[in-house]
């Protein structure tokens, strides 16, 4: 079965025009004065993995447009008792879900769900694969700050390998001709990452990544996903931590972004996190707007 209309499984196969449509629609959103586009709809939030920002902003986005939300987390549900992904999907569909928002530790889990369940499925992060709503809110944040994607250069620094945020960001920005530089040690930023999308390259040197860069996107070193990879953290900090001095290597008006959660003192210093270039909290705010657009699109209300 093909995924239901309005599903958002990833950025990779989305048309650039569709991305722009969502970003434009998000621009008109205001969670405090939202039209009840989702009135009476049931949004099932199926979270198989921990989340603060994504979960709360999907919930606020849905509620502000009049939807009911139900949160199901693996702990305390039948998932814990060994129910399969699809059986949980059939169950929430039978309960009356109109949209399923799913976060899952396995890549592709939303695809499996969407192939068997006849309501829109929204990927809220699947393993190492994609995090489309994050890429959209990041694109939204970049556009708000830089007005256009034209001629932009974005550096993504840190744990690319384990990052679904990085993969989605590369797919999205590449569709608009943005130059993308991935930076980190070989274990975290493997050469193969350059094959993700046109305009993506990999460098080991932070100076190389920052020179001429408009947007510095930092990523957390995902200790929980390293699975035996030996990363020398002091060495990582010495070579890649974003400090005020390093940030000076980027363009004068460069902004700093981070999908969170941030680990102060590791991938960035507090001065950078709280500095005037930081857009980290703005991203969180924009997350609600873009997720309103994603949910409205899922219900065919993005007009």
């Amino acid at each position: 079965m093909n995924p239901a209309r309005g599903s958002l499984l990833g950025i990779e196969h989305l048309e650039a025009a569709e991305v722009l449509k969502m970003l434009k629609f998000a621009r008109r959103m205001n969670p405090d004065k939202a039209r009840p586009l989702l009135k009476g709809k049931r949004v099932l939030l199926l979270f198989y993995e921990a989340s603060t920002r994504t979960r709360s902003s999907f919930e606020i986005a849905a509620k502000s447009m009049g939807a009911h939300t139900v949160l199901i987390q693996s702990a305390g549900s039948s998932i814990e008792k060994g129910e399969s992904l699809l059986d949980t999907g059939y169950t929430v569909r039978a309960v009356g879900a109109d949209v399923i928002v799913i976060r899952h530790p396995n890549a592709g889990a939303p695809y499996i769900m969407a192939q068997h369940i006849d309501v829109p499925v929204i990927n809220a992060g699947d393993g190492l694969h994609e995090h489309p709503s994050q890429a959209l809110l990041d694109a939204y944040t970049i556009l708000r700050n830089k007005k256009t994607f034209k001629g932009l250069q974005v550096a993504i620094v840190g744990d690319i390998f384990h990052s679904r945020v990085a993969r989605s960001a590369c797919h999205l920005l590449s569709k608009f001709g943005v130059k993308i530089i991935l930076c980190g040690p070989p274990e975290l930023a493997p050469e193969v990452a350059a094959t993700l999308a046109p305009g993506v390259r990999v460098t080991r040197h932070i100076e190389d990544a920052l020179r001429g860069t408009d947007v510095v996107m930092l990523l957390r070193v995902q200790k929980e996903r390293l699975a035996g990879l030996m990363i020398d953290l002091p060495e990582y900090i010495a070579r890649y931590q974003m400090t005020p001095a390093r940030l000076k290597m980027a363009k004068k008006d460069a902004i700093v972004m981070h999908p969170g959660p941030i680990i102060r003192g590791l991938e960035l210093t507090s001065e950078v996190a709280d500095g005037e270039r930081s857009r980290i909290l703005e991203e969180v705010h924009n997350g609600v707007l873009t997720r309103m657009a994603i949910l409205a699109r899922a219900m065919g209300k993005m007009r």
Binding site: G108, A109, Y111, L128, H129, T195, L196, A227
Partner: protein
């Protein structure tokens, strides 16, 4: 000839084109089977006397019965996936008259009792089933199983398939003891220390899909070590299961050049597909070893063409739907393969790569028979066991997994248009499948 000497208990295969690589025959020939043996092979219409039964093979190819060195029949203990009855029915439909079944069952086939159990008539096998016994007790990799007893009981090889023997000392011991008994040690070559949580080949595609990848090195390093051991240990016999990478192939080629007793098999899926072929996390593309890069596939194809490959084996690995329809990373490894093997070989190797049919027949018959010393099989020279596969190399057909004889449906080839079809499988002189 008096009437009492008339060919009783006989089957005459008439009008076909015989391909028997061992006998160097690639010509129109009639074949007479009698009392479970090949009684006569002769030019058309030269076999005198009648026969109880005749098989009209006009326009068809007659070949020695196909042998699959690597199947999982899932018995004992995993009958929800497959049984010996359903698995061998699928084998017959695929033209295989003999299959060698892997011991990674529940319990593991590591004793004489279980080897004998596999052969009991109650199992309902319709083709010959040969046991590959576990190389170590319960395939735990700690104590070698009783090779001598297993060998006498009729096991054709030993393997800890799926749980490779990583320990150098243990592998050496297995090859030493196997060498003394002329017993092949079959290795599923995978350094599992390097493949934890991995579900496909490591490459651009796995990176894009966010799936942890098995490197080619995880296979090649074990094959290299095993070949080195086989070169050092007198009489050791190493058989590399489902070889899938160009690097591993280099080691095997070196071993063969050094006259070590190293044989290997490749699967139809590895010579047909690459890691780029999987769509939308479809676990029917998930198997171990995984589908590899285009360069790896090309290396395998070259080795098939130049005669280096010893056998095509399916690694038929049936699983129930609920074990496959799930998160790709959690889904079971393995695909069903018995009913598509020949057609994939003819479609991909013969028609596209122009590998002669004689060579393809050899890869399904004489090649595998040599790997495991299956005496009397792999050829139709007079006196051989009367196992015969009849096929139509030009027949176009569409594979429908729903109509498979196997209990399971986990195949990436559902709906594929293929050329080359099995027309009949004859086991011990009896037609067990005709399609």
């Amino acid at each position: 000839m008096t009437s009492s000497e008339k060919n009783r208990n006989t089957l005459l295969i008439k009008g076909g084109h015989l391909i028997d690589p061992v006998a160097r025959i690639d010509a129109p020939m009639d074949v007479l089977l009698k009392d479970g043996r090949v009684a006569e092979v002769a030019l058309p219409n030269k076999i005198k006397g009648g026969a109880d039964e005749k098989f009209d093979a006009r326009g068809l190819i007659v070949a020695p019965g196909f042998i699959d060195l690597h199947v999982h029949l899932r018995e004992p203990g995993q009958t929800h996936k497959e049984t010996i009855a359903t698995g061998t029915a699928a084998a017959a439909a695929g033209g295989f008259t003999s299959v060698c079944t892997m011991p990674n069952t529940a319990p593991v086939v590591d004793s004489v009792e279980w080897v004998e159990w596999l052969r009991q008539p109650e199992r309902g096998a319709v083709v010959n089933v040969f046991a590959i016994a576990a190389a170590t007790r319960a395939s735990l990799g700690t104590t070698l199983s009783d090779f001598r007893a297993l060998h006498s009981a009729g096991a054709v090889a030993v393997s800890d398939d799926g749980r490779p023997i990583l320990d150098d000392g243990m592998m050496r011991e297995a090859l030493v003891l196997g060498g003394e008994l002329n017993f092949p040690v079959v290795q599923h070559a995978e350094d599992t220390r390097m493949t934890e949580n991995c579900s496909m080949h490591a490459g651009a595609r796995s990176f894009r899909l966010g799936l942890r990848g098995m490197t080619a090195a995880a296979e090649a390093s074990i094959v290299e070590r095993d070949v080195q051991l086989a070169m050092q240990i007198p009489n050791a016999r190493l058989h590399v299961a489902h070889l899938s990478t160009a690097d591993a192939l280099k080691s095997v080629r070196r071993g063969k050049r050094a006259k070590a007793r190293v044989t290997f098999e490749v699967t139809p899926h590895h010579f047909t597909l690459t890691d780029e072929d999987m769509r939308d996390y479809d676990s029917n593309y998930k198997m171990n070893p995984p589908l590899r890069s285009t360069a790896d596939r090309e290396a395998v194809l070259a080795a098939l063409a130049d005669g280096t490959v010893d056998a095509i084996a399916t690694d038929h690995a049936p699983h129930a739907a609920h074990e496959k329809e799930m998160e790709f990373e959690r889904a079971a490894f393995g695909i069903a393969g018995l009913e598509t093997a020949l057609a994939l070989a003819i479609t991909r190797l013969h028609r596209e790569k122009h590998i002669p049919l004689v060579r393809i027949v050899e890869l399904f018959t004489a090649g595998p028979a040599r790997c495991f010393d299956l005496r009397g099989r792999g050829s139709l020279v007079r006196g051989s066991i009367a196992d015969v596969t009849v096929l139509d190399p030009k027949k176009k057909w569409t594979f429908d997994a729903a109509k498979s004889q196997s209990k399971s449906r986990n195949t990436p080839f559902d709906g594929w248009q293929l050329t080359g079809k099995v027309v009949a499988a004859i086991v011990g002189g009896k037609v067990v499948y005709s399609g």
